[in-house]
């Protein structure tokens, strides 16, 4: 009993990558190093108060996620630049690091990290400073539940999807904080647009996913992936998938829905006043958010880690990056919508369509 309670305290078994603290789900190899690490892992709780241990585990897990995201984002930025470049008869980064400019993102990041930390006068200082952190955190936390493969998931809670949407909705607040805290009219306009947009597009996004829940009969991400063992939901829920793609792009504020930071209108929207490290956080979280959206698409519609021959997480990443590629492709192709058109599109087309999809799904399920 006591153990069960305590698990709840620090967020269940709170591990990083599931190494199997209790050993029951360990399917990894049996190398000596891992064995010894495991021993230490199992022994650690005896050395300190339970709470410190839990916190420590959380910290380690968090750090792992952050490092993973950073690497992922670096790759994604490079990936996008290459893809967009080739679509626009350019070549994208070429020189830094030798092979096709692979180190370009790293160089850019370093540059951002080394820049002067500017806090303009007249800003709401605590808000201004906290905003990028909150935006970043809210995206990072979502990674905790994403199942990269059958065993590679930080925490498999039984309402993973809701969790992801809940924490990503916090992004809105962070962005609002940035817009308000900057004390800049462009930022404020951008923040208001962003809030309106995210709040609106969250509705069809969630509705489009409801069809998947109905089919899978679970909210657990792993459970949903398991349910797609034989047929991906993109085939059962094509309309839902399309709505998801559109609303997802809207949710992460990318072209053609990048209205909040439309550089030709609002300069840079809510992060106009940010530079250096703080800007890097926004940048990081934008791409991290894209990856969350892609991962969710993979999990919800594209069968997650299922696939022949290759190991699960490779399939997962392949699918997620295919979705990423779609987003980049869209970005290279379309102009930006106007704010009213975007809202009208959301409320007048996506939302009814999502409801219809839900209705049809329900009817079909009832009929079968």
């Amino acid at each position: 009993m006591c153990g069960g309670r305590r698990d709840a305290v620090a967020g269940r078994d709170a591990g990083g990558v599931r190494l199997g603290r209790r050993g029951e789900r360990t399917t990894e190899s049996n190398m000596g190093l891992i064995e010894s690490l495991k021993f230490i892992w199992l022994f650690l709780p005896n050395l300190m108060p339970r709470e410190f241990y839990e916190l420590g585990v959380m910290a380690v897990a968090f750090l792992a996620v952050v490092i993973f995201i950073t690497l992922m984002v670096l790759f994604m930025v490079w990936f996008e630049r290459k893809v967009v470049g080739h679509m626009q008869v350019r070549r994208g980064p070429l020189h830094t690091g030798g092979f096709h400019g692979w180190a370009q993102s790293i160089a850019d990041t370093l540059k951002l990290f080394l820049k002067e930390d500017i806090v303009p006068r007249g800003v709401d200082r605590p808000v201004y400073i906290l905003a990028p952190l909150i935006v970043f955190m809210s995206t990072v936390v979502a990674y905790i539940v994403i199942p990269f493969s059958k065993s590679l998931v930080a925490r498999d809670i039984n309402m993973g999807v809701l969790f992801v949407f809940a924490v990503s909705s916090v992004t809105t607040i962070g962005i609002f904080m940035a817009g308000w805290g900057s004390n800049n009219k462009y930022s404020l306009l951008g923040a208001m647009r962003v809030a309106a947009q995210i709040v609106s597009y969250e509705v069809p996004l969630l509705l489009s996913v409801l069809g998947v829940f109905m089919l899978a009969q679970t909210l657990s991400l792993s459970g949903i992936v398991e349910a797609q063992k034989h047929v991906w939901y993109v085939f059962l829920q094509p309309v839902g998938f399309v709505i998801y793609v559109i609303a997802g792009i809207g949710e992460v504020n990318r072209l053609p829905f990048d209205i909040p930071e439309a550089e030709s209108e609002l300069v840079a929207g809510f992060h106009t006043e940010y530079s250096g490290l703080r800007f890097a956080f926004f940048f990081l979280s934008e791409y991290a958010n894209m990856f969350v959206m892609s991962s969710m698409a993979t999990v919800l519609f594209l069968g997650g880690w299922h696939g022949p021959v290759l190991p699960g997480f490779v399939w997962f990443l392949l699918k997620a990056f295919s979705f990423m590629f779609l987003m980049v492709w869209v970005r290279a192709t379309y102009p930006r919508l106007r704010v009213d058109q975007m809202m009208a599109f959301c409320w007048k087309i996506l939302l009814p369509l999502a409801f219809l999809n839900l209705l049809v799904t329900g009817l079909v399920m009832a009929a079968v």
Binding site: Y186, M192, A196, E265, P335, V339
Partner: protein, 367 residues
């Protein structure tokens, strides 16, 4: 949410802003997202070209004109040269006239391409910009072969042009033209057939025919509003009367019409260049001119259909080696006056589209 307005907000768009294409300041009064008032504030790039000309000789003024509309320098050269030639009473050789037409139309293409790319970029489509610059690169390469410069040409001179058009230039131009029409089709596929683009531009920034005339706008902005007015046909100069081309016009005068007019003009310009290349006569590329130019006392006004509209040069000579007074009628400047009329009730995003559709160049606005 844009409907949820409370107080009106005043924001400065520019002088440093990504979509003012230079140092234009727009004072916007907005309520939520809706623009209730806009006034353009110009003069940040004032270089006093008109005044400078008074202390230069006639020929030294030509390079100054290159800096007016710096994406279409040839047109500025031609307009100025035509004005001075009226005072000089010089006979321009036929070959030179043809080369001038080719050069000016190439400049028109370059200008429209820059406009198209940046306009699409203003609307958020990044790709057309790079496509357009790819085409423009070819044009600039060709012009480089012609006169050695890529942007500040200083090419069209009194009595003719600076250098002859070499076969290399002709070949390069033909090669460029052979692919150009297909490329324009490609842009139209990317934009004209794109629902988002059409939604962003149709019915936005309306300028009625009457308003257009009363604001004295010219060029594609005027034609977009449905007025069939083109100086190449209505006040012909050079050898344009020999060319066969169509003057495209719009219907409603919205952003889309202005866009469509320019795209169609690009096709027509290519057609004119082809005709000019085919009919390029042999002969001198310049008339015999004295070393020191001292035009007769008097005044002259010339106007041509520049890419942006009617570009006019008023030159007053007192018989000395430098002009007494030069006044430039810059199309961008006059067109800009119609901006508040066009952007009544627009959203902030529409402002960008409207401003982009006017195709202003600040070098010309502020002079």
């Amino acid at each position: 949410m844009p409907e949820l307005k409370t107080d009106s907000l005043f924001i400065n768009m520019g002088p440093q802003h990504p979509s003012t294409h230079g140092v234009l300041r727009l004072g916007l009064t907005i309520e939520g997202e809706r623009v209730v008032n806009v006034f353009p504030d110009v003069g940040f790039l004032h270089r006093g070209i008109e005044k400078l000309a008074e202390s230069r000789t006639y020929i030294q003024t030509i390079p100054l004109t290159d800096r007016l509309d710096y994406v279409a320098g040839m047109s500025n050269n031609l307009a100025y040269v035509l004005a001075v030639e009226q005072l000089l009473d010089v006979e321009v050789p036929r070959r030179a006239e043809f080369i001038r037409v080719i050069a000016v139309e190439m400049s028109r293409l370059a200008s429209h391409l820059v406009w198209l790319g940046s306009f699409a970029n203003d609307l958020g489509a990044m790709t057309p910009l790079l496509y357009c610059f790819r085409e423009r690169e070819d044009i600039l390469d060709a012009l480089e072969i012609l006169c050695g410069a890529r942007m500040t040409f200083n090419y069209i001179r009194f009595g003719g042009v600076a250098r002859d058009a070499t076969p290399a230039f002709v070949e390069k131009t033909r090669k460029f033209l052979s692919t150009f029409d297909k490329r324009v089709d490609e842009y139209e596929e990317l934009l004209t057939e794109n629902a988002i683009f059409v939604n962003r531009t149709k019915g936005v920034g309306l300028l009625t025919r009457e308003e257009a005339i009363s604001y004295a706008v010219s060029g594609p902005v005027l034609r977009g509003s449905g007025v069939k007015w083109d100086l190449r046909r209505d006040a012909p100069y050079s050898v344009y009367p020999e060319m066969d081309f169509v003057i495209p016009t719009g219907e409603t005068g919205d952003v889309f019409d202005r866009y469509a007019v320019r795209v169609m003009e690009m096709r027509q310009a290519a057609r004119i260049i082809r005709q000019a290349l085919d009919g390029l006569p042999e002969g001198d590329f310049t008339a015999k001119m004295p070393r020191v130019l001292k035009p007769r006392k008097g005044e002259a006004y010339s106007r041509i259909e520049a890419p942006k509209g009617e570009l006019g040069f008023y030159v007053m000579s007192d018989g000395t080696a430098s002009p007494y007074r030069v006044k430039i009628r810059a199309p961008s400047f006059i067109n800009l006056a119609a901006l508040p009329a066009m952007s009544k009730g627009a959203l902030v995003a529409d402002m960008v589209a409207v401003l982009g559709s006017m195709d202003i160049v600040l070098g010309e606005v502020d002079r």
